[in-house]
Symmetry: C2
């Protein structure tokens, strides 16, 4: 059973304002919830259909009908289970010994989610987002991470301040006037890969912090690459032997 208040409350968490106010967010679907329970995130409530409950008898949860689940889900096809989870203050680890990804004003939830998933594939642990990037707790971001969200340290900060305070880092910036990445020697140690906004690229005020400008050469006629795509190609260049 789902009470009217529960429904209202869960639905309110679709909005960033209420997520921040409550310090909560929503995780949906069998696979994501499975990864959630393997993580150290604290689960506040679980709403699940009888089918999921049968297969997860060790988990406390509220049984709901499929129709009730649909009424609180952000998915077109809700998938058995929805959890309300406590937000966690995340911290960067070992930024000076590995490759980190830094995102300046990335706006599209699918792009951020895909970048998190890609970073996880390439063994990257830290993602530093500008304060005005899309919210990582946005349901579309979380879905696109395919569970990688739970393994990643993602912080939001003022990037100018971040770069000023961490001035020993090598900042590789993806720029249209950069050097051919295939011919560059790339060093992951204490490196930051800085990627810009979908349509405007890296902000003017961050350009001075870039120590190495990178370009993926254009062999055709497209004007640009999607930011998640470009991030993947560049991460691959750092990691390939």
């Amino acid at each position: 059973m789902l009470s009217i208040n529960q429904k209202k409350f869960v639905n309110s968490l679709a909005q960033k304002k209420y997520r921040t106010e409550q310090g909560l967010f929503i995780v949906e679907g069998i696979k994501m919830v499975e990864e959630l329970f393997q993580s150290d995130y604290e689960v506040s409530d679980v709403y699940a259909t009888s089918f999921w409950i049968e297969n997860n008898q060790d988990k406390a949860c509220n049984e709901v009908s499929e129709k009730e689940l649909k009424s609180i889900s952000s998915l077109k096809n809700p998938n058995e289970v929805l959890a309300v989870v406590k937000q966690k203050k995340q911290q960067l680890i070992d930024i000076s010994t590995q490759l980190n990804v830094c995102l300046d004003k990335v706006q599209d939830p699918g792009n951020l989610g895909t970048i998190i998933r890609t970073a996880d594939w390439f063994g990257i642990q830290n993602i530093i987002c500008s304060d005005d990037s899309v919210d990582v707790y946005n349901p579309k971001v979380l879905q696109a991470t395919m569970g990688s969200f739970f393994r990643m340290n993602i912080v939001y900060t003022n990037l100018s301040v971040f770069f000023s305070e961490n001035n020993g880092l090598t900042v590789y910036g993806a720029l249209l006037d950069g050097d051919n990445v295939y011919k560059k020697e790339l060093n992951s140690e204490g490196a930051v890969l800085l990627m810009g906004n979908e349509s405007k690229g890296v902000s003017k005020e961050l350009i001075p912090f870039i120590t190495e400008k990178l370009l993926i050469p254009n062999y055709g006629k497209a004007e640009s690459l999607n930011v998640a795509t470009a991030t993947a190609v560049l991460c691959s260049e750092f990691k390939r032997v």
Copy 2:
């Protein structure tokens, strides 16, 4: 002015069934329509706001209000202009002398659109989709191509038949049991890069056609890469010097 019949007609083209029946599709937004007029696609109708018309006085079109444009647009924020365009039978060119991309059952419109844009960036001209891949005329696919659609040859076919009839090609397949792509010698001439469905990968019946199995090594814990991301990394590997 937009008549009720015009509105009904344009809205019907949101569905693949009617697009195929009428042999038409829709192109939206200033940038996409600009690329459309540079292409050899035949434009059937244009609906535009007074602002667009002022800047495009050489183009015949129906003036509509912003509200009317919104009523026929698939975009959240319609962007000045919408064109109804004739579909065109596309043909592959020079498949035996260059790298081609082949997609097996790719379902997500954003993925197909991003792959088209990426292929255009890397100078690839041909994309061969399985008959049951998402429709390239889907508005979300077209938007995600950012105009690259107009420069690409995209055909839909039965892939088993395609591979049987083109058995001189080197078929590189992206598989989880493939060889480390970073250590492979890749040859673009007469090559096909075969990418599988988002959740199921390459279809069983196509595996025998693969002559070279490729894997992007996993340095972290993500179970897989997004198909558009993986395509980009592999295209980059083929093109890099």
